[in-house]
């Protein structure tokens, strides 16, 4: 009986020691200590991530899909309509959102800020509505509408096709 109590208290000690170690993290090492990329993924009406530590973020940049890991070089990327995937822990499946557009900026201090206009989880979308939306947009494109309307329709086609591709994966 005594042996078991001793062993249980021994087991408790290492956990406390690591808690003390983590509490002594300094400001500058907040990002580096756990080596995670600090992500701020914000929408106008909601912030999905606010300086949260993540492992990897995959972005649909206008210049091509890219992945951002910790300590990425500073860069500014415009986002096209596509899927943003956030992998929070190693080995976990990434959380996906379909983003309509926005900007992603990696800063030199291991932070990534993404300002997206709209973002919704993939299961919020219905394939039916996407198909009918795409058909409407294509109809406007092939009609004799003014150029400004056609430009809007072109953007709509881009978004719907991106949605179809995202849902198909």
């Amino acid at each position: 009986m005594f042996a078991s109590r001793l062993s249980s208290s021994l087991r408790a000690l290492p956990r406390q020691a690591s808690a003390v170690r983590m509490a002594r993290r300094g400001y500058a090492e907040a990002a580096g200590a756990d080596g995670k990329l600090q992500l701020s993924l914000v929408l106008p009406h909601q912030s999905l991530y606010s300086s949260a530590g993540v492992i990897q973020v995959n972005l649909p940049a206008a210049t091509g899909d890219m992945g951002v890991l910790a300590n990425h070089v500073a860069s500014v990327e415009a986002l096209r309509a596509g899927v943003v995937e956030v992998i929070e822990e190693n080995g976990q499946a990434g959380k996906k959102w379909f983003v309509s557009s926005g900007f992603a900026t990696v800063h030199g201090n291991n932070t990534l800020t993404i300002n997206a206009v709209e973002a919704y989880p993939l299961d919020n979308f219905s394939a039916e509505n996407i198909r009918s939306g795409l058909a409407d947009a294509n109809r406007v494109l092939s009609s004799s509408a003014p150029e400004s309307e056609k430009a809007e329709a072109r953007i709509e086609v881009e978004v719907f096709e991106g949605l179809q591709a995202a849902l198909a994966k």
Binding site: H45, A74, V76, E77, G102, V106, H107, G108, T113, V117
Partner: protein
């Protein structure tokens, strides 16, 4: 009724009529009492409506502030080059069309006038109330105005429409200064200035060169940043306006209650005076018999 107590000299000629018109002055007080009571009901309900709208506006503002902070991250790391000549500034005053909100619109107009006095520039205004206040002072500085904003919590779509219009018809500028009300607490607000730099200045900024870009996104980025900054200012200004309206309606209700109390006392005194006079008439008449 105040005139009779404060300025008796003017009413000496009417003193004789007053006795016979004792009932008429009573009726005036009664009417006044009724109208103040109705006004108090209106201001109290407006206060309740503003209180419920405030919770929603505050929630939207908290999220919008995080959005605006993320937007500003990039500009914190880039410094603007100081040029020799005075930069061309476009001031964007952000308020709304609604009244009965205390000093919200005057706060914006005052801040715009002060800023224009220090560094003149062109002007874009969101909201009919500050537009009418400023068009009297500086009609020539106006580039573009907006209205029908602020009835409900502002959306990003509205902010991008405003930004789009400013980019199309706002003329040339090196810097945009957004003047809006900052929400300090549920009972106080203050006007503040947010700077947004133009695409040209962004490209030239030292810190910006450090960012890798496969293609030059500075123009799109500058326009997006403008829409984001306008959105944040709109939502915070909306929250400040709702809270100011709540405070103003609460003060109006309290004032109405005070007026009703003093009017009621006056009415009672008047009623008692009329009764006393009638009694005196009856008694002197009776004693004369």
């Amino acid at each position: 009724m105040f005139t009779r107590t404060v300025r008796p000299a003017l009413n000496v000629a009417r003193a004789a009529q007053q006795q016979s018109q004792g009932m008429a002055t009573l009726r005036e007080i009664e009417q006044r009492l009724k109208s103040v009571r109705n006004i108090e009901k209106i201001t109290k309900s407006m206060k309740v409506v503003a209180s419920t709208k405030l919770t929603r506006a505050e929630r939207a503002m908290r999220e919008a502030k995080k959005y605006g902070a993320a937007n500003n991250e990039l500009f914190k790391h880039t410094e603007i080059e100081k040029s020799e000549e005075a930069p061309k500034i476009l001031y964007v005053g952000i308020s709304s069309d609604g009244g009965l909100c205390g000093g919200i619109h005057s706060s914006i107009s005052r801040a715009v006038k002060k800023a224009m006095a220090e560094q003149p520039g062109t002007l874009a205004v969101v909201g009919d109330k500050p537009k009418s206040q400023l068009s009297r002072a500086m009609p020539q500085a106006f580039k573009v105005t907006f209205n029908a904003v602020g009835k409900d919590v502002p959306t990003f779509a509205e902010a991008s429409a405003i930004a789009d219009e400013i980019v199309k018809n706002g003329g040339e500028w090196d810097e945009i200064k957004i003047i809006s009300n900052k929400y300090l607490s549920a009972i106080s607000y203050e006007s503040g200035v947010t700077s947004v730099i133009s695409a040209k200045a962004l490209q030239a900024a030292a810190g910006f060169q450090a960012y890798e870009m496969e293609e030059d996104v500075s123009k799109d980025l500058a326009e997006f940043a403008l829409a984001n900054a306008i959105y944040t200012a709109l939502v915070e200004g909306h929250a400040a306006e709702i809270s100011a309206r709540r405070t103003a309606m609460e003060n109006a209700s309290n004032n109405a209650n005070d007026m009703m109390a003093s009017l009621q006392l006056q009415y009672n005194r008047g009623r008692q005076a009329v009764i006393t006079n009638e009694l005196i008439d009856i008694i002197t008449g009776a004693s004369a018999l």
